[in-house]
Amino acid sequence: MITVFERPKALTAVKTHYCPGCTHGIIHRLVAEVIDELGVQEETIGVSPVGCAVLAYNYFDVDMQEAAHGRAPAVATGIKRVHPDKVVFTYQGDGDLASIGTAEIVHAAARSEKITTIFVNNATYGMTGGQMAPTTLVGQVSTTSPRGRDSAIQGYPIRVSEMLATIEGAVYIARVSVHNPQEVAKAKKAIKTAFELQIAGRGFTLVEILSTCPTNWGYSPKDALKWLVDNMIPIYPLGVKKTLEEGKS
């Protein structure tokens, strides 16, 4: 018997605090698998800002820094500038990156900081109980858009990947999902590409990963995945938005 699937070394054995069916867990594992496969566990420094995934520092078995809400790309810039030979990634939610942290992510990309951002988009603020985020869909109910997001009042969702793809310093931007095993494989490939481009010193890379929030969406984990496919993907189309090698998916 040979083992074909087990917990990656870069992931601690600590049971996560995430809600049942929350896909943060899958995404953490993919990042850890990529770190293992690239053999960089001892070279990697991660940054986890405020959000459900702030406690990622208990789950990634690498040097970590906890950052203020929205400021992970700046913290990561400080780290990478001191240790240009290390692998530096931020793991951020949409409330963190697309709201309070927009300046930091835009300028990290503009400076082409050689860091990788794992951007988890679940169209809500999970940790604080399901408030509306900049990525909340029009019509989507949240605790701060109780009658559904009304574009006349609260505007429209921000497509971060498309936005960042216009920035020259961004060398790889992809939006992926983890709603079934095939997409999980694609997501891992994108994350690996992003890390590889960082290690090759090419510049700023970001992978946006559509993710579920069963608890705050009010769905079972399986129905949440279904809601993601039916509602989020049309607004947030999957695919590579920016890459150096043309035609490389």
């Binding site: 040097d63 203020a68 700046a74 780290i79 300046a103 930091e104």
Partner: protein, 356 residues
Amino acid sequence: MAKVLMKGNEALGEAAIRAGCRYFFGYPITPQNEIPQYLAKRLPEVGGVFLQAESEIAAINMVYGAAGSGARVMTSSSSPGISLKQEGITYIAGAELPCVIVNMQRGGPGLGSIQPAQSDYFQAVKGGGHGDYKLLVLAPATIQEMVDMMGKAFDLADEYRNPVMILGDGILGQMMEGVEFPAEETALTLAEKPWATTGAKGRKPNLINSLFLDPVELEQHNHHLQRKYDRMAKEVLWENYRTDDAEVVLVGYGSSARIAKAAVDLARAHGIKAGLFRPITLFPFPKAALQEACKQANHVLTVEMSMGQLVEDVRYNLEFKVPVHFYGRSGGMVPTTRAVLEEIIRWAHSGEEDKA
């Protein structure tokens, strides 16, 4: 080393280099722009990194990342910029990271003005961010002292794993004075930082963090921090000027202290026994030395470029045993020696000689 005529901001930048600082993250704001401008040239020359961030908020968080990675790192700004950095500063204090933060104060509140002021005293000394934390605050009054303080600031930051603030003002930043630097690249023995994030090779992963969701843990952390702040008491610095027999003791720091010193001399020429007590560390506050300097004073007068902030701490630290008065200009206006002299004369001849 020969003396060099240099602008305060630039001298500060050079001193940082001599202190082994190799990382600067900042943002433009008058009257401290010469610091980033100077370091933009100098840091690359010594293999360092200068980076102008998109905001002061980003800059202080870059400092957090770099400090957490074990580097000697600094930032500089002026009043409004320092206000923007407050959240980052309390994170740095909470995560116990060493760094140096320079504030060249300017007129406030709000957008205020670009002329010098000292109206950020409370923010610097009481903490402008949330939570119980302290910065070690150094208040130079000359460009030479600023240069000397820079080296000290990085050593103190490393020793206490705490942010250290150099509290200057527009005058100190903009004026030029002769200054002597420590020898180029004195072999600096930088502190070991086994706690830093350098890549977990051959050790357990390190964590830079200020989050303690368990209140029991956070309370213990707070007590740990307070013990550290108590230990800082040994770092107190001050200057006494003609206070031995002074009946009117002036108290001031930074540029105000220089004006007060001149007023003391004028008062002495008028036959009034005046003196100046100048705190150089604002935290830890030199309480014992202040009490010693004022033991025979009938009146104490603080001279500030604010509407009165240091005066509260002087009253508090003198335990209200002697009347403490305030004279100040604000908004970027600078007290004149003559005006301070008139205050000294007024209090020296006021009828309240007998202590209350």
